[in-house]
């Protein structure tokens, strides 16, 4: 049975929709408040100057909120390197997400629709490989990359992010469910080549799942910290996570060169760096649900 997920049709639900439960709403809003509490703190902290950060109550504004000033300072600092960081992050995350989705889609389709020698073994190898923690392996990875001259280039960050085992898992299941074999057969009989079938028929059906992988890889690469930290030396190449942490180090550690004024910028910068992701979620929400549905229901 093929389950092509779609948005829930409204009519059968209207009967249930009409009775909204106020107690449940209140409980969930309280839950929401808890989840947003740390972010609320961040938003408040971004409106304060450094002096007020530690002398006023954390969860409410100071007497002289200066969000706009902080935002301006964040972008002006170090010759506008913050904007550069945001741009870098957008490029790394965007390219990685799109690339990862395409690779996962092709591979998922390949694993789902074709049987070939070793396909099971390969598939399990991919899933098994992510079980080895790569934190301490960053140094061997660095040495290997250094040998081929990839270090301190954007590729050092983008290339590893193009592999998404979660994306592969999802796309395989999705291809099994959403792409009907009969469609493929029909296209074959018409004389279409495999690649043509994939790009014109399968991809269209896989679109919702594709967007899901794009979204999840986008978040993962956007927040990627450890890999870029090791691979990149030039601050102009930093993504915003590494950049902010370098500012934080300047603000928070002792020793000469410490500049506690940076702390306010770190707060504001952090807030600004989350906003694009929220926007991305809101825009891609529709596809998002559909894509994940297949991954969940079928095994």
């Amino acid at each position: 049975m093929t389950v092509i997920p779609s948005k829930a049709p409204e009519s059968p639900r209207r009967k249930l929709d009409q009775r909204r439960s106020t107690p449940l709403t209140i409980v969930m809003l309280a839950v929401l408040a808890y989840f947003l509490l740390p972010l609320f703190w961040l938003a408040i902290a971004s409106t304060k100057n450094t002096g007020d950060l530690f002398s006023t109550f954390g969860l409410w504004f100071s007497d002289a909120p200066q969000l706009l000033t902080n935002v301006k300072d964040t972008f002006a600092r170090d010759d506008g390197v913050f904007a550069r960081w945001l741009l870098n992050t957008a490029i790394y995350a965007g390219v990685s997400a799109l690339g990862a989705a395409m690779l996962a889609a092709a591979a998922g389709y390949g694993f789902a629709k074709f049987r070939f020698r070793g396909s099971g073994a390969w598939f399990n190898l991919v899933l098994g490989a992510i079980m080895v923690p790569t934190t301490a392996l960053a140094i061997p990875t660095y040495l290997l990359f250094a040998k081929v001259g990839l270090v301190n280039t954007p590729w050092a960050v983008i290339l590893p992010s193009l592999i998404s085992p979660f994306g592969l898992y999802l796309m395989r299941i999705y291809a099994q469910d959403a792409v009907d074999d009969s469609l493929i057969e029909a296209a074959r009989l018409d004389g279409a080549g495999e690649l043509r079938i994939f790009t014109t028929i399968a991809l269209r059906l896989l679109a919702p799942g594709l967007v899901t992988v794009v979204l999840f890889t986008l978040v993962a690469t956007w927040n990627n910290y450890f890999l870029p930290l090791i691979m990149l030396n030039d601050p102009n190449l930093y993504p915003v996570t590494v950049g902010l942490s370098s500012w934080a180090a300047q603000a928070l550690n002792g020793g000469a060169g410490a500049n506690s004024d940076m702390l306010g910028l770190v707060m504001t910068g952090s807030l600004l760096s989350i906003l694009p992701l929220i926007v991305a979620f809101l825009m891609l929400q529709r596809y998002w649900q559909s894509g994940l549905a297949a991954g969940g229901v079928k095994q």
Binding site: P5, T25, R115, V132, T135, A138, S245, S270, I278
Partner: protein, 311 residues
Amino acid sequence: MTATTAMQAPLGDAESVRQRKRGTRRISPGPMFVAPFLVLFLLLFLAPLGYAAYISLFQQRLIGGTTFVGLDNYLTAVKDPLVIHGVLRVARFFVIQVPIMLLLSLLFALALDSGLLRFAKFVRLGIFVPYAVPSVVASLMWGYLYGPDYGPFAQLARGLDLPTPPFLSEGWMLGSLANIVSWEFVGYNMILLFAALRAIPHDLYEAAAVDGAGAWRIAWSIKIPTLRPALMLTLVFSVIGSFQLFNEPQLLNRIAPNVIDSAYTPNYYAYTLAFTGQQVNYAAAVSFLLGLVIVIVSYAVLLTANRRSAL
């Protein structure tokens, strides 16, 4: 079942028959599609992994250079009390945190799907957003919230004349970590489950409603069983996540450096070995050992869960 497999299996062969008839011989399509992914996987993942495995067979000393030691590093790791305690600690963490987190994710997903909720879209986004917060930022946030002097909970407790909750004490640390991890991932898992719920055909609900089933009954008898595969997915990734715990202890290490020591979790231990102790070889061995533990636990968990569902 055999009918469908019979249909699917010869696809490749039918194609090659057709090719031979046409006189051309192309690459088998299956491998063609998976090749780009696998090639990159090989180069960027397996190659470093292989190299790391290779260096785990050596020992590099500050004085005396590199020597081949075979499996010595692994034997040491297996007996290393820091590794053993670390593994037990993350196992404890997994057993406590993951069921709670998945239960919450499930409950929230059901609540969102039930249609009984106002502002559902807003709630959905809000619970998810923590997943998008980079841990660099999270450490600042939680440092404040858990603060024993000026944190809001501390101040609230003082205002109510209650003792300050010792979030960063040794006894509470695992719980405080579990809180942060749940905060980060409940939304992620919730969305996964919610989307799976959205795919359930609604005539099922209609039929049940006609039979007189209320929202709770529907949830229990229809929704949850259908969610089993989705729950398996979240469970496996939670196993991996818990046993590889690194970001959150590192984040709290800044604020509670004497509770979170450098071997708090096995992954953190590997990191410290490599970056602080210059013991890259041993660190690699510890990492692989941890990977092995995770493979074992994952399969054990899946087997248990599948057996349970067969009953």
